[in-house]
Amino acid sequence: MSTTILRWLAVLCFALLGLAGCATISDYDQVSYQNATSLKVDTLALIDKSSGSYAAHEQDIAAVTLELDKAYEYDNGRPLNTITMDMWNELRARYDAFLADWKRKGSFNQTAIRDYKVGYSGDAGISALFDRIIKLESGKNKPD
C-alpha cells in the first residue's frame, strides 16, 4: 500500500473518531426504562389509594417516594442525560403537588382520582407524564 493511501486512511480514521465521539444524548438503558415503567404502575396505584385518607397511607407514600428518589438518582448519574433529568424534575413537581393536595383534603373522590391519573381525556395526567420519560428512553439508541 502506498504512502499516499496510508496518509489518506489515517486522515479518515481521525475524522471518524471525531464523529464517533460526538454523541449528544445517552444511549438506551434497561435499568432506567424498568425504573420508569415500574414507578408508573406504583404511582398510579398510589393515586388509586387516595380515595382513602392521606394519614392511613403514609407508609405507601413513603415507599413510592423512596423509589422515585432512587430512580432519579440513577438517571442523574448517567452522562448526557440532561433531558431525562429535566423530565424527572417536571414529573416530581407534579407528584409532590398531588401529595400536597391529598394531604390538604384528606381524600379524593373518584373524579379527582381519575383526573390525576389519566386526565379528563384519558390521555393526560400523571400517567402521560411517565409515558414521556418511558418513550424517550425506549427511543434512545441501543448501545452496540
Binding site: A23, I83, R94, A97, D101, A112, G119, A124, K135
Partner: protein, 109 residues
C-alpha cells in the same frame, strides 16, 4: 496507486441522502403526529376540568393542579421530542461513519 476521491464522495453522498430520509424524516413525521395527539388531549381536558369545577366535582386547588399537569405534559412532550431528535441525529452520524468507511474501503483497488 490512486484513490478515486470523487467516486468515494459520490457513493457516500447517495448513501447519506438515503440514510437522512430514513432516520430523520421518519422521526419528524412521528413527532408531528404525537404533538397533535397531545394538543387534542389537552383541549378535551380543559373543557372537562372547567365543567367539573363548575359543578363542584373538583375544587380550585385540584383544578389548578390538573391544569398544571397539562402544562407539564406540553413541556415534557417538547423535551421528549428534543431527546428523540438528538438520538436520531446521533444515529444518523453513526450511519454516516459507516457509509464513509464502506465507500472508502470499496474504492481501494
Amino acid at each position: 496507486m490512486a484513490i478515486d476521491i470523487d467516486s468515494i464522495i459520490k457513493s457516500a453522498e447517495q448513501g447519506i441522502a438515503h440514510l437522512a430520509q430514513q432516520t430523520l424524516s421518519d422521526y419528524t413525521t412521528q413527532a408531528v403526529a404525537d404533538g397533535k395527539d397531545i394538543l387534542n388531549a389537552i383541549k378535551e381536558d380543559l373543557a372537562g376540568y372547567t365543567e367539573q369545577l363548575a359543578v363542584g366535582e373538583i375544587d380550585q386547588d385540584t383544578f389548578n393542579n390538573l391544569i398544571q399537569n397539562d402544562v407539564s405534559l406540553v413541556k415534557m412532550t417538547a423535551l421528549e421530542q428534543a431527546g428523540l431528535a438528538e438520538a436520531a441525529l446521533d444515529k444518523f452520524v453513526s450511519g454516516v461513519e459507516s457509509i464513509i468507511i464502506t465507500a472508502a474501503v470499496s474504492a481501494i483497488p
